[in-house]
Amino acid sequence: MSLWPLLGLAVVVLGFALRANPLLVVAVSSVVTGLAAKLPILKLLAMLGEAFLKNRILLLFVLTLPVIGLLERHGLREHATRWIASMRAVTASRLLTLYLTLRQLTATVGLTSLAGHAQTVRPLLAPMTEAAAEKVHGPLPEASRLRLRALCAATDNVGLFFGEDLFLAFGAVLLIQAFFQNNGIQLQPLQIAVWGIPTAVCAFLIHAGRLWQLEARLRREASLASAKPTVLPRVSTDSGSGPRDQ
């Protein structure tokens, strides 16, 4: 059993630890792994090409961008913000907890396409949560606002991951079943899906627990900001320059 292909894994771990650009790290790792496995260069390139074509669908989220972009240009985020400001008793914590619940429940019945980072978190959840936080706590320091935005994306992921594994027809359940079948163990999808419930409940309790403490933390961070003599300027809602290069 040749262990040379593990060089590719080492490249990945090292590359990420050194904070090199992820695209470069992954490209180098593909080449290193292929060479270590003694694949001829042409065959390696063909493999890369075929894998690319097979996984092109991972770019499909790009199709939502023109729609969202057009709506943003006409004030989608401003509207979401204003709507939140007009509601009573809405806080960032309650909004995110509600979103977590809805996301997890809809994922459990297979409606995973109902929400997502491009179509829900960016245009709606993030501006609404920021607006709710500022409504309750006043202007927030920049770092606090960015952390809150990241928490919105995090909440979407947690709700999705720990709801969709309960969905019988979902890939994970079928993968587990197929794997055990290949190894001589017969299981029913229902058996597998059911044992996902304890973890799903724990995931909800843990993350909702963190969200419960969110208001206290925001209050602390906001009071630190108002202790300063000047209020920090708002980040514009125009587009930024993407992820910083390493």
């Binding site: 059993m1 040749s2 262990l3 292909p5 590719g8 990945v12 990420f16 992820p22 695209l23 470069l24 992954v26 490209a27 792994t33 496995a37 390139l45 090409g49 074509l53 097979k54 669908i57 991972l58 770019l59 790009v62 199709l63 961008l65 023109p66 729609v67 972009g69 057009l70 240009r73 006409h74 004030g75 401003e78 509207h79 396409s113 929400a115 980072h117 179509q119 978190v121 960016r122 245009p123 960015l146 990241a150 992921n157 947690v158 890939g171 993968l175 794997f179 055990f180 299981l187 899906a193 059911v194 044992w195 973890t199 724990c202 125009d238 587009s239 320059s241 993407g242 992820p243 290069d245």
Partner: protein, 322 residues
């Protein structure tokens, strides 16, 4: 029949137009490499099937090189925001359009659902309207985006020529991160072909795991760590379950395979929350939300992930050996 191929052509078109507009943008110091990046990516998506795979692979490496060396830079889009008049004009438009703005955005998931649940059986002229099978969700998504775009144009009364500009604006915001999920999937296949999985499994099988606690810890932590390295739990699951799950936990200690499978996979998901290799969940959203720290989403997830990992290990120990 509306095939997946047509949806891919639409996708390629969006990317190609972003590329062409990018090249024309003289305010961008890297307009040729940026525009070239999107253009080539769009070409591959649209016409990749017609090219020899080795050529596609070479271009993919080229794209990774361009982006990795900083060639993909978004412009400041000053010209775009000045024509809208900036945020005050947007607030005014938001006031006028109100909840109508939400309607096209919500059409995306709604139409996707309609396609998946209902239209799959619709027949036109003797043939199905939408391509069936696994492609159904994707074709529905494509059609839904088209429908939502039409609705958005109606609601905002905007000219269709505006559409490529807005698409490009958001693509620029995401930047090179858009290619990362795809490239990671490619890496996964290379790993599989090179036997990385079996190599890891053989290493893992040499661990001394007589006690039940050690075995559960090794399996759970192994799933989480290997998921962090591979970027997705599906790739880690067969390797770690084959290496530790079956021989040690199931055969030696008599664990329930259904529990092991379910809780094991979910332990892998805890790893997914913590790794930059799961780019479409962790890195792309950070770029979409315009966060300067590309690991911000991961940092927001780590407390949940670690607590849940611990909870899962306990659940596995308690539930698998009834």
């Amino acid at each position: 029949m509306i095939r997946l191929q047509y949806v891919l052509w639409m996708l390629g078109l969006v990317l190609i137009m972003a590329g062409l507009l990018g090249v024309r943008d003289r305010t961008n110091s890297r307009r040729w490499t940026t525009g070239g990046f999107w253009f080539l990516l769009g070409l591959l998506v649209m016409l990749g099937d017609l090219l020899p795979p080795a050529l596609v692979g070479a271009v993919v490496l080229l794209l990774a090189l361009i982006a990795g060396l900083g060639g993909v830079k978004g412009s400041s889009h000053q010209s775009d925001s000045s024509t809208t008049g900036g945020s005050d004009s947007r607030r005014e438009r938001a006031r006028r359009l109100g909840h109508w703005l939400l309607f096209p955005a919500l059409l995306i998931p709604v139409l996707t659902l309609v396609g998946v649940l209902g239209l799959s059986r619709l027949r036109v002229g003797g043939r199905s309207l939408l391509e069936g099978g696994q492609a159904l969700t994707l074709v529905s998504l494509g059609v839904a985006c088209l429908g939502a775009l039409a609705a958005a144009l109606l609601v905002t009364r905007e000219s269709p020529t505006r559409v490529p500009h807005e698409g490009r604006r958001l693509l620029d915001a995401i930047g090179w991160a858009a290619l990362l999920p795809l490239l990671l999937a490619v890496l996964g296949q290379v790993f599989a072909a090179a036997g990385v999985g079996s190599a890891v499994a053989s290493l893992v099988a040499r661990l001394p795991l007589e006690s039940r606690i050690a075995a559960v810890l090794a399996y759970g932590l192994g799933m989480a760590s290997f998921t962090m390295i591979m970027g997705n739990a599906f790739a880690a699951f067969p390797v770690i379950t084959l290496g530790i799950g079956i021989p040690v936990l199931i055969e030696l200690h008599g664990a329930n395979p259904a529990v092991l499978g379910a809780v094991g996979m979910l332990t892998g998901y805890c790893g997914t929350l913590m790794t930059p290799m799961a780019a479409n969940f962790n890195i792309v959203p950070a770029a979409l939300l315009e966060l300067p720290d590309q690991h911000a989403v991961i940092k927001a997830q780590i407390p949940t992930a670690l607590l849940l990992l611990a909870a899962n290990l306990v659940l596995m120990y308690v539930l698998a050996f009834e």
